[in-house]
């Protein structure tokens, strides 16, 4: 997915600003080191400021009326500061895994927030296109309703098939096998990976069933296939939209906790620094 020229320019500007800020902090740290001041204080305060800015993104989305740039600009800032925060963290700790227990908790939350952030970014770049390719769009909250409606349709189709054809083969197969498929969202990981296992499963089962049916039953089988394919699309929406939402349920609370832990860390360090 490409950004527009103006967005590209804006992105370059934000990246440059991020690099300049990092250079300034590093320079300040270098000067501090030469004068035997605490470098960790400089990188620590800088890291805390970056974390607060990152945390303000959530608040900014609610305070749209404030004339401080669009949310899209803040998103760019969030990405650039996310990377900057990662670099500053290592400059500040000087290690992958710090020594103290409290610091280890901070590091753990930092890694969780960073990793979920990277996963979220990856999801946001890749998954929307897959959703768009599904054709018909469904609102996430409506998926259970749509799914229930499909289940009702297929069950009434099975009853009708039994009544009209005088054979219970379709209904039996539905009760034994297909009910599992229509009961709840299935093949979620496959949909997330985009491997199409769901369609394969439908085709295999319908093929197995087809050999036991006569022409009038096959007409119902075709209707069943249509509903099953629609269900597969709904499952894909459920899996992909769910993933697009789920990472935030980890990222945002952990980020909030991380900021709280960092505040306490700052207080303690400030007290003992005297």
């Amino acid at each position: 997915m490409k950004l527009s020229l103006s967005q590209n320019r804006k992105a370059s500007l934000f990246v440059m600003a991020g690099v300049v800020i990092w250079l300034m902090i590093t320079l300040l740290g270098w000067v501090a080191a030469r004068k035997h001041w605490s470098v960790a204080h400089i990188t620590g305060y800088a890291l805390f400021a970056v974390m607060l800015t990152l945390g303000f993104f959530k608040l900014r989305k609610r305070l749209l009326v404030l004339p401080i740039g669009t949310v899209r600009d803040w998103m760019l800032l969030h990405l650039v500061f996310g990377v900057l925060g990662f670099v500053l963290f290592f400059q500040h700790t000087g290690t992958l895994w710090p020594g103290g227990h409290y610091e280890q908790w901070i590091a753990l939350f930092f890694y969780v927030v960073s990793i979920t952030g990277v996963i979220g970014y990856f999801f946001q770049r890749v998954l929307p296109q897959r959703l768009a390719d599904l054709g018909e769009q469904v609102i996430y909250d409506r998926i259970p309703i749509e799914m229930a409606s499909l289940r009702a349709r297929v069950e009434s189709l099975m009853l009708e098939a039994t009544k009209e054809t005088g054979s219970d083969t379709l209904a039996r197969y539905y009760a034994e096998t297909l009910h599992w498929y229509f009961d709840r969202p299935r093949f979620l990981l496959s949909h997330l990976r985009g491997t199409g296992r769901s369609e394969g499963w439908i085709q295999t089962n319908l093929k197995v069933l087809s050999r036991f049916l006569n022409d009038s039953e096959r007409a119902y089988l075709m209707k069943l296939e249509e509903i099953a394919i629609r269900k597969s699309a709904l499952d894909a929406h459920h899996a992909i939209q769910g993933a697009l939402k789920f990472w935030l349920f980890v990222h945002v609370p952990c980020a909030t906790l991380l900021i709280l832990l960092a505040i306490w860390h700052l207080i303690i360090v400030s007290i003992y620094a005297r």
Binding site: L5, V65, Q137, L244
Partner: protein, 580 residues
């Protein structure tokens, strides 16, 4: 919730909120005695909307002092004006400088007011402060009563000439300098009817020359009287036609080089044509359910292969230009106000003295208002002063068919009507619903759109008001609650005067208006005691017109997937495509 807990409120009716509560029966008597109204047969009006009722409730009398601006070029308006006494002047194109047209104050909420509103927003869906309905004084009436004046213009010398004191004579405004052309209208003259009836921008500025008394009529009043009185219908159509010719022809780029005499000659020969139905939305909604191709039902104006006899100037509505392709018709482009059709063939005919046939067909998309300038007038007056067209319409047929798929779809769905269409790039949209949340927060917890709608490829036109060029939702509103904002032209609903009849929601071809039952702030449902039915209100996107920051949905999108675009401009769409 039990009946005891619900709030009883009489069902709102058409004239609960009269245009001017100060209108009296005596004024209505005076109006009915005037020649403009005395000939109307009052018995032709229904009991629910009698002539007296219309004059009493849908009209008001305004007094303007010399220099007061009655209406401004470029504004949207929902009313027409009848001069009762005194004289007014119409500033004909190119009109008055923008800085001279003092704008009426538009109410925008302050930033802190918005923030406070967010914190105190009710958690009840569609909660209303029902005490406002008792007052029944719309904000619009407050805004409308403000009269800007040419006397307040920052550069009066540019308007009246240096050394002239425009307020020297309190009874009459001095004439404007020669740069500005004006036409005087006196007692009995009707103006402003084009914008009111055709739902388009005001085409000229009108100001008071002397102290004058003007009857301002809501467009519903004009519509009702026109529909029930032949004299008014003829008069309105004549005035409408004459004013259109006066305002449209000099403004058209093809005719700009003509002098006044030549323009007059062209105007005399110009024919006014209307194709399709003004209330096109009814047929369109029905046709959406059918499988046939749109051009099979759209009224054909010109057939490919016919000999052209005149140049068409589009003055309203939309037209579809097609060329035959296989067994169907391919849309090459569409026409809107300001566009023209047939120039290439007519110019060739004039240049080569050989008759050329129409290379393309023209269909009315819903309805199409045209001015037809006959070939002899063009050959004598226009073409000698006109440079040869640099490109031909038919050249568009060389483009790959796929390239026009989006346009073909937008035309078929009539999305080209939208000026602020919510277009979502589904390949960028992460379905976070921040747009919906932002919309809800801007409207006391009630989102005013649904993030779902028609899709083509990765583009979705969501179910949100598009603030149409031709807002057909305005047609049937009995109270004028749904209207265009004075500046900007956003289509908004005055919640106080809305009676919840659902006419606008039924008329909207895109199903972007919802009628919802309202509740008290406490959560109690609001019930009409006579019918025990809930009180309803129409709701839709208002483009966050009261917020200083503009549409919240667009600002809230972190990925730039949602944009409010003018789909009528394909260049904009091309830019969007390039953005991806």
């Amino acid at each position: 919730m039990s009946d005891q807990e619900s709030l009883r409120l009489d069902r709102p009716r058409r004239w609960d909120s009269p245009f001017d509560p100060a209108m009296t029966e005596a004024v209505v008597d005076e109006l009915l005695a005037r020649p403009e109204f005395s000939g109307i047969d009052a018995s032709r009006f229904p009991a629910a909307a009698p002539l007296r009722g219309i004059l009493l409730n849908d009209c008001r009398i305004e007094i303007y002092k010399p220099g007061d601006i009655i209406l401004r070029e470029g504004d949207y308006g929902n009313s027409a004006f009848l001069v009762l006494s005194g004289s007014v002047r119409v500033a004909v194109p190119p009109g008055l400088p923008r800085q001279a047209l003092g704008r009426a104050p538009e109410k925008k909420r302050k930033m802190f007011d918005v923030l406070r509103g967010m914190l105190t927003a009710p958690t009840i869906a569609e909660a209303r402060d029902t005490s406002r309905y008792a007052a029944l004084n719309s904000d619009a009436s407050v805004i409308l009563s403000y009269h800007a004046s040419l006397l307040d213009a920052p550069d009066k010398a540019a308007l009246f000439g240096s050394g002239v004191d425009p307020s020297a004579d309190p009874e009459r405004l001095p004439p404007l300098v020669d740069n500005f052309k004006t036409v005087m209208l006196s007692s009995g003259a009707l103006f402003g009817e084009i914008a009111a009836l055709a739902r388009v921008k005001r085409s000229a500025t009108v100001y008071a020359e002397t102290t004058c008394r003007v009857l301002e009529m809501r467009w519903q009043a004009l519509r009702d009287i026109k529909n029930r009185d032949d004299g008014w219908r003829t008069k309105i159509e004549e005035v409408y036609r004459a004013n259109l010719l006066k305002t449209q022809l000099p403004e058209h780029p093809l005719l700009r080089d003509l002098n006044a005499d030549d323009l007059k000659k062209v105007a005399e020969q110009t024919i006014f044509e209307t194709h399709g139905s003004f209330e096109w939305n009814v047929e369109f909604k029905a046709s959406k359910k059918q499988a046939y191709h749109a051009t099979e039902v759209e009224p054909q104006v010109v057939r490919e292969g016919d000999y052209p006899d005149g140049l068409f100037l589009v003055i309203g509505g939309f037209g579809r230009v097609t060329v035959k392709l296989g067994n169907g018709e391919r849309t090459l482009t569409y026409l809107r106000e300001g566009d023209h059709f047939g120039l290439d063939e007519l110019y060739d005919t004039w240049k080569t003295r050989e008759h050329r046939m129409h290379e393309t067909s023209l269909y009315a998309l819903g309805y199409l208002q045209l001015l037809r300038i006959p070939y002899p007038a063009l050959a004598e007056l226009v073409f000698p002063k006109l440079a040869a067209p640099s490109s031909r319409l038919i050249d568009a047929a060389a483009r790959p068919i796929e390239q026009d798929a989006f346009m073909e779809w937008a035309v078929d769905q009539r999305f080209i009507n939208g000026t602020k269409t919510m277009l979502i790039d589904m390949e960028k949209c992460v379905r976070c619903d921040d747009c919906v949340v932002a919309c809800a927060e801007a409207h006391e917890g009630n989102p005013r759109f649904i993030r779902q709608g028609a899709t083509l490829d990765n583009w979705m036109v969501a179910n949100s008001c598009m603030h149409c060029v031709d807002p057909v939702c305005l047609i049937g509103c009995p109270t004028g609650a749904i209207h265009r904002s004075m500046s900007g032209g956003a289509v908004i609903i005055n919640d106080i005067t809305c009676i919840g009849c659902g006419t606008c929601a039924n008329a909207c071809p895109y199903e972007n208006i919802r009628v919802v039952p309202i509740r008290e702030k406490s959560g109690a449902p609001v019930i009409d005691p006579s019918t025990q039915q809930p009180i309803m209100k129409a709701t839709k996107c208002d483009l966050c017109s009261t917020l200083p920051s503009g549409p919240s949905c667009e600002r809230a999108c972190p990925h730039g997937a949602l944009q409010r675009v003018d789909l009528a401009s394909l260049t904009k769409r091309t830019r969007l495509e390039a953005d991806r």
